[in-house]
Structures are given as structure tokens and as C-alpha cells.
């Protein structure tokens, strides 16, 4: 069962059970949705911008433990970042989930290194990140409520 324990580390189980920044941001000016049509998972990321930086970030959607925990953890990682900084973080995250290589500096996202042994699940881990980068690239809109 060691592979599974690697896949579902305590960090992932915790974020899945107690997701951070879940729900719609009422003052969001940018948002984007990602879908995995083959599995029916979806994730919408909401951003409240502070200039070119992410002021507040949240997500909502449904999916497996990997996708939900990844979305939750991502929100804690991207707050305060610009588009290029967010893309850099996403690049590092993709590297972790596809190669299993852990980051040099301690970071909770290292928990996702176990995903690389389950190639079918990589897209679950990256869904929210894709949506966040997409949202950052959107023009600012009037908050919907």
C-alpha cells in the first residue's frame, strides 16, 4: 500500500477534507473554469486582483481528492502572485507531478510528488492550476454579485 500512501499523503487528505478558499469570491473580477470532460471533473477559479497581483483567490467545483486538494493547496500558493510568477509556480508544480522530483525548498506541494506514479491522475492535479492561469489572462470584468 506504499504507492497509495504516496499518492494520498496526509497533506492531500487534509486539503481534500478541509479545503481552503473554497466557494465563490463575491468581488471577483476574473474567473475561469477548467473541465476534464472524460471524468466529469470541473473547477472554477475566482480572482480578486490587486493591481497585477492576485489579491484574493478561491475555487469551486467537484472532483476527486487529488483535484480538490490540489485546488485548495494552489490557492494558498498563488495569493499575491502576478501572471508570470503564477506560471512559474505552475511550471514547478507540473514538474513535481510528472517527474516525482521534490522541490529543493520545503513546500507543501511536494505532497503531490506521488502523483507521478499514477499518470492517469496527473490531469486531476493540474486542473485547478490551468484554470487559475486562464483566469489571470482574462480581462477584468464587473463582479457578478
Amino acid at each position: 500500500m506504499s504507492d497509495l500512501t504516496d499518492l494520498y499523503q496526509a497533506v492531500i487528505l487534509d486539503h481534500n477534507k478541509r479545503p481552503r478558499n473554497r466557494g465563490k469570491l463575491p468581488q471577483a473580477t476574473r474567473w475561469a473554469t477548467g473541465d476534464n470532460p472524460t471524468c466529469g471533473d470541473n473547477c472554477t477559479v475566482y480572482l480578486e486582483m490587486d493591481g497585477e497581483r492576485i489579491g484574493e483567490i478561491s475555487f469551486e467545483g467537484s472532483g476527486c481528492a487529488i483535484s480538490q486538494a490540489s485546488a485548495s493547496l494552489m490557492t494558498t500558493q498563488l495569493k499575491g502572485k502576478t501572471l508570470s510568477e503564477a506560471e512559474e509556480s505552475f511550471g514547478e508544480f507540473k514538474d513535481i507531478v510528472t517527474t516525482g522530483r521534490e522541490p529543493e525548498e520545503f513546500n507543501e506541494v511536494a505532497a503531490f510528488a506521488g502523483v507521478h506514479a499514477f499518470p492517469a491522475r496527473i490531469k486531476c492535479a493540474t486542473l485547478a492550476w490551468h484554470a487559475a492561469v486562464d483566469a489571470l489572462k482574462q480581462p477584468d470584468q464587473i463582479p457578478t454579485n
Binding site: 500500500m1 504507492d3 497509495l4 499518492l7 494520498y8 487528505l13 481534500n16 477534507k17 472524460t38 471524468c39 466529469g40 471533473d41 470541473n42 467537484s62 472532483g63 476527486c64 481528492a65 487529488i66 480538490q68 499514477f118 492517469a120 491522475r121 486531476c124
Partner: protein, 412 residues
């Protein structure tokens, strides 16, 4: 006839392996089934001895290949109780068969204002082809509702009767739901459609090879199925069509093998079924399908269906004891085909499937090519365990034990 299923696993070489350090428990049969030694041998024998193109050559191998291919057609007619082998068109599978009816019959016959009826429980393969042809012709697609919070009520047949009128030209429905395990009353649905003047198209992907199918008794106009879901190779499927309807249809694809006379100005095609088999057909897999039909009938199809349904009912009863589980389709005690679809409140289907795989239990998680029904039921996805003749009570126990472990693991 044999009803001893305990040793049938030995007929399927692929099942003799370990996954996750445990003997493989394969419960993804609604997606595809495994092939018995007899089918694998038939394929090897064809390629080693008879391989040739059909209907064209005058040499020994070509004649043997042609005989084998046409014998498979005759065997399929017998398998479905069709009146005539000419009513059997070989295709690549259920999807191709349904598209052939949609584009070959419906596109030529539907007019704006006409109605096609399918059901809310259709697989995408018996829904999307009708959406396409309705778009092309201006016809309207309507759906027979599925009833019950967990779809336990099956199709709303009263609503179906109300939908029927002169405008309805096609009624397309699945014989057995791949998502719910519901067995639809095919004979009744066909009779009502016929009385209203509509043709019927039955998706038999989950019923052929699981029970005796008699297309004449069922009264359907078309019946489609795939070989690979009933112990035969992938890439071979069947469209049964009533002769009169097939002969009235123009070809869908042009090419060699489907023509009588070709001139630069135009061509004249052969009658069915060759009319619909342009190009070199899938000879080897048709021969593999023949071997699969022989194998299934040697075991006995009614016994296979009963065996699977018994296992599914056992799984349903045992799973219903688990906390936070929601089971779809017929309730305990109601007729159910050989599959069980379920969702846990706190564990997503993909986590379930990944976890079960580590226990050597192969399941399917997702929307099962039925996104609209999943939306209606308010579920992003479900986990499905589907049984076939080689599964056993031990497999049900392995499934349930794996589900108990996953609930514990996720603290649900």
C-alpha cells in the same frame, strides 16, 4: 448446457495475472470483456492458415476466408434469431451500427417537424448520432424520462406513450443500461413504436451475449451490438436490420465490395448487406466473433445472464450496507442486469477506482458516456462494477472488501 461457472475463468488467459500483488478481479466488463482461448485460437488459426481478402479472389485461401466470413454472418443471424443472414451487416461496433442507421435511414427519411425519441439513459453512442441527424434534417429529438431519485424507476413508459404520435419516425433505446443496469421492456417499447408508425433502433451493446436475443420476437427494426463486449475481438460489430429497410437505404460509404457496376458516370450498388460494407471487411474479427458466439452458447446465454445478475444483486446488497453510499438503478429485488453503479458521499469515483486498482480490482469510474443522466441525478461520476461469466462470488467479496478499505482510508 452448463451452469457451473466456477472454472470458466480458466478459459480466459488474460485473467491469469496479478495486479497490485493480488489475483486480478476484473469488474469492468460493461466497458469490454475478455476473450476466451477459443476466440484467440480462432484468430490465430485464421491468420496462420486462411488469411486472404474476401469476395474477390478465386484462389483457395480467398475462398476459405470468404466462407469463414459468410459463416460468421450466418452464425450471427442464428444468434439473433434473424430471418435471413442478409439482414446482418458487419460494422466496427455498436457506434458505427447506430450511425449507419442515423445516416443511412434517418437522414433520408426525416423531415422538419418529425420527431426522434430516445431515452435519458442512453449511452452517448445512441444519443449523439440522433442529435446530428436531427440537426441535419430539422427533426426534433425528445427523450423518454428516467424516473426516481436514483433512477430506480426506469423509463417512464406512460410519458413515452404520450410522446407517440404521427410525427414520431424513430424510437431508439438501449436494451440494457450500461450505467444503471436497468433492463428495458424492449418488446413493449417496440410494439408501441410500431403501432405509431415509427421504426425502432435497439442498442444491444449490453444485452447481446448476456441473454438470448430474438430480434423477431422483440419486434425491432434495427439491433446493434459490439463483439468486444461479448468475448469477441474489438473492431467487429453488427447491425441487424429488417431486410426491407436495409434494401431501402442508400449506402453510407462508397468503395470496393459494395457495387455491382461502376461507370465513370455513376455506379449501381449491391443489395444489403454488402451495400454497407465498403472496403475490405474485418474478416478475422468476424471469425473471432463466430467463435465467441459458439463459446457463449456452449455455456448458455440465459445461464450467463442469470449468473451475472445474481452476482450484481449480491454486490448491490453488500454495498448497500456501507455508510454514505448511493446505489443507482433498480432496487434490491427488482430485475437488474449484471452491473452495479454507485457513489460515495465523501469519496470521489476516481479515488475509488485508483484505490481498488491497487487491490487488483478493475472498476470503471466516470460518467459512463452518459453525461446528461449524471447531471440529472446530480452526480459528477459514479463507480461501476460490471460482471461477466468468469466472475465469481469471491470477486464480489473482493470488491466489497476493497470498498470497506477505501472508506476507512479516507476516514469517511
Amino acid at each position: 448446457m452448463s451452469s457451473d461457472f466456477s472454472n470458466l475463468r480458466l478459459d480466459f488467459p488474460v485473467l491469469d495475472q496479478h495486479v497490485g500483488g493480488r489475483p486480478l478481479v476484473y469488474l469492468d466488463n460493461a466497458a469490454t470483456t475478455h476473450k476466451p482461448r477459443a476466440v484467440i485460437d480462432a484468430l490465430a488459426r485464421f491468420y496462420e492458415r486462411d488469411n486472404s481478402n474476401v469476395h474477390r479472389g478465386l484462389h483457395a485461401l480467398s475462398m476459405r476466408a470468404t466462407d469463414g466470413y459468410e459463416a460468421a454472418r450466418a452464425r450471427t443471424a442464428k444468434f439473433l434469431h434473424a430471418a435471413d443472414p442478409a439482414e446482418i451487416v458487419f460494422t466496427s461496433g455498436t457506434t458505427a451500427s447506430i450511425n449507419l442507421v442515423a445516416q443511412g435511414w434517418a437522414r433520408a427519411n426525416l423531415r422538419p417537424g418529425d420527431v426522434v425519441i430516445c431515452t435519458e439513459m442512453e449511452h452517448h453512442s445512441n444519443m449523439v448520432p440522433w442529435q446530428i441527424v436531427c440537426e441535419q434534417t430539422g427533426a426534433t429529438l425528445r427523450y423518454i424520462p428516467v424516473t426516481g431519485d436514483d433512477a430506480e424507476g426506469g423509463l417512464d413508459l406512460a410519458a413515452y406513450e404520450e410522446m407517440l404520435n404521427d410525427s414520431v419516425k424513430v424510437v431508439a433505446f438501449t436494451h440494457i443500461s450500461n450505467t444503471l443496469g436497468t433492463i428495458n421492456p424492449a418488446t413493449e417499447i417496440c410494439a408501441k413504436a410500431k403501432a405509431a408508425g415509427a421504426i425502432t433502433v435497439v442498442d444491444g451493446a449490453q444485452s447481446a451475449g448476456h441473454e438470448n436475443v430474438d430480434v423477431q420476437a422483440m419486434g425491432c427494426d434495427f439491433y446493434a451490438f459490439s463483439g468486444h463486449k461479448m468475448a469477441a475481438p474489438t473492431g467487429i460489430g453488427v447491425l441487424y436490420g429488417r431486410r426491407e429497410l436495409l434494401d431501402s437505404m442508400d449506402p453510407w460509404q462508397g468503395g470496393g465490395g459494395m457495387i455491382n457496376i461502376v461507370n465513370y458516370e455513376g455506379s449501381e450498388w449491391k443489395p444489403s448487406p454488402e451495400r454497407f460494407e465498403a472496403g475490405t471487411p474485418n474478416v478475422a474479427d468476424a471469425i473471432g466473433l463466430h467463435a465467441a458466439m459458439d463459446y457463449l452458447d456452449q455455456v448458455s446465454r440465459p445461464a450467463i445472464g442469470k449468473h451475472e445478475s445474481t452476482l450484481a444483486a449480491q454486490a448491490y446488497d453488500a454495498l448497500s450496507q456501507l455508510p454514505g453510499i448511493r446505489l443507482l438503478g433498480p432496487r434490491a429485488g427488482q430485475p437488474r442486469a449484471g452491473l452495479v453503479s454507485f457513489a460515495f458521499a465523501d469519496v470521489h469515483a476516481h479515488d475509488v477506482v485508483t484505490f481498488a486498482d491497487q487491490d487488483g480490482v478493475a472498476l470503471r469510474g466516470g460518467h459512463h458516456c452518459n453525461q446528461p443522466l449524471m447531471k440529472k441525478l446530480g452526480l459528477p461520476s459514479t463507480t461501476r462494477a460490471s460482471f461477466y461469466l468468469y466472475n465469481t462470488e469471491e470477486d464480489v467479496a473482493a470488491l466489497v472488501a476493497s470498498m470497506q478499505r477505501i472508506l476507512k482510508f479516507f476516514g469517511a
